[in-house]
Amino acid sequence: MSHKPLKLIIIAGSKGRVTVKYPYQEPLITPEFRGEIEIDPAKCIGCGACVKACPPNALELLESEKEVILRYFVGRCIFCWRCIDVCPVNAIKGTRNFELATDKHTDLYTLVVHTRTTCEICGKPFETTRMQRYIAEKSPVTEEYASICPDCRKRLLAEAVSARRVGISEHKE
């Protein structure tokens, strides 16, 4: 019988102990590690781009008459950081935090509350105040209709088009 299997003793001896004394020692994570995300409430404009990109619906937009709430539920999060990729204002930051256990379930939620504007014409609740400001800054030409909801915009456009068509036919005559 060969003595080869006994070489394991040499391997084991030379390796020694490989487990670390976590949590008393630093965990073995690399700088690349993707952990929990942090949303900066001062920067977030409530546009919902992250909600659309989020594969497991960990980010949701809860809408009421007065407010739009961006809710992050870490219990569903898969730490893909797609939200960070798509956020237009860099309001979301990735962290290396993975120690997420808690005895209070409310700790698992992060809320960003946004106030809502109303449509200038019909008065229905419309986008967030910050979103409106953001659009006006990015594209000044939208100023005229930035405070009008999409339904009213459609109606105004349809009215304008029909008026013009009438005008053309009159001109032809």
């Binding site: 394991l8 690349e32 594969p55 898969i78 950081w81």
Partner: protein, 542 residues
Amino acid sequence: MLNLEETTKYIELASKSGGQAKIEGDTVFITIPPDRLVDVADTIFNKYNTSFRVCAGVDERPLNGHFSLVHLFTDDKAGLYVAVKTYLSGESPVAPSITSVVPAADWCEMEARDLLGIEFTGRETYRLVLPPWWPSNLYPLRKETPYNYRPEPRLESEKLGYSREYGVIPLGPYHPALHEPEYFELYVEGERVVDVKYRGFHVHRGVEKLAESRMSYQQVNFLAERICGICGFVHSTCYALAVEKAAKLDVPERAQFIRSIVLEVERIHSHLLLLGVAFHLLGYDAGFMHIWRIRERVMQLAELLTGSRKTYGINLVGGVRRDVNEEKKQKTLEALRELGREFKNFIEVAISVPQVKKRLTGSGVLPREEAVKLSVEGPVARASGVNKDARRDLPYAAYKYVSFKVPVYTEGDNLARVLVRVDEVFESISIIEQLLDKLPGGSILLTDFEIPEGRVGVQVVEAPRGGDIHYVVTGKGAPYRWRVRAPTYANIPALRVMLRDQPLADAPITIASIDPCFSCTDRVVVVRDGRIEEIKLTQLVK
């Protein structure tokens, strides 16, 4: 790359059978009337010696009023995909079964019957995927069925099989090998296994329906990755490549290289995991501990390259999300050198341990003919002398730029399956080194592109367990139909051959030797009838 002579025989076959053929990229799409399906499948599978991968039923009624059934073959010698499509009419479509000529089509036909209500003539039918209490007229993959509809479950316990002649030993539904829900019922005469029944699909999660109903193209990458906890990156790459093929996207080379690198890291990780589990099952726990110690380095390497130890989350349609810089490249090369040295030192010791060697040798034999007949995949096929590997035969990502050996053994026993994996670990290390050396510059992600509707993409990616295939029909903002077949789906039927006439004590290691991944296989529920009377088995209602 495409061999014209090879494609002509398929075009001739199609026109001879009263159908049409069209070639797009590396795929031959053949459309034939249902009555010629068996002849055509017979010619393609038995005469042209192709491998049968899977069949997919598609509910095309919203598009053209028909159901369709697509049988997917790959001509590994010519590097061709062959998709044979038949249109089936009516609300209760009927298709001829091809199991008489292609035995490997057994499961996928029954899955199409369960999920789409396509009936098959010329074979015995049974319920495979859905639980027994599921309403008989409710077909989850038909477009009118809402993805979130839940029929009221009826809890009924399934009974253990009964046999007058043989002893019945239940193995499962929890962890005969890899701690996942699957159930084997072994019929034994003394210590010898005489028959096996498999009951799986306890964890069918309906990911295909979910992706088709409420996700977008880019979100599905992350869902695909969660089909499997071990070869997740294979699934997301396979999905992304299939969509890219359908939309004819020109993905940056650098992205393809990074995909290949990460795929090989995942293969090393998966093989080390399985070798550890095999040693554990053989009672060699020291070996298990040491191989998992070595594996830990691969996990850290994956985290360095992708940001996550598992379910890497870096694939998107159009490229990847994390780049490999010079620092990462050096760290990877260093990690691989040490990994290769440690693995070589250790595996020589482990394979020489007498109990390991004796129990692996000659147990769980799968003869070559059975391997071909059942179209088994990956290391299971390569250990039985079937020389197939999608990385070489149907090159994808960046595999055409590297040279590597495909280890093939002819014994077909558990030892051969273990040795195939040992050899592959060394090959994978060499592949990553070559890829890092040749890594081209440029961008890693395609940003501006459109995915047209109604296109079809078929892609095979060689997972650590064998060929994984994804079939995508593009739709509006999301796949119209997405069919996934994991390699274990093709390998489980071979277990019946491997376990028969073997000592009972070898059953766990034989089951583990195919490196089964049941959650992959199930995705969304099997009664296998052998020589013994009908049985009912346990249901897990989720």
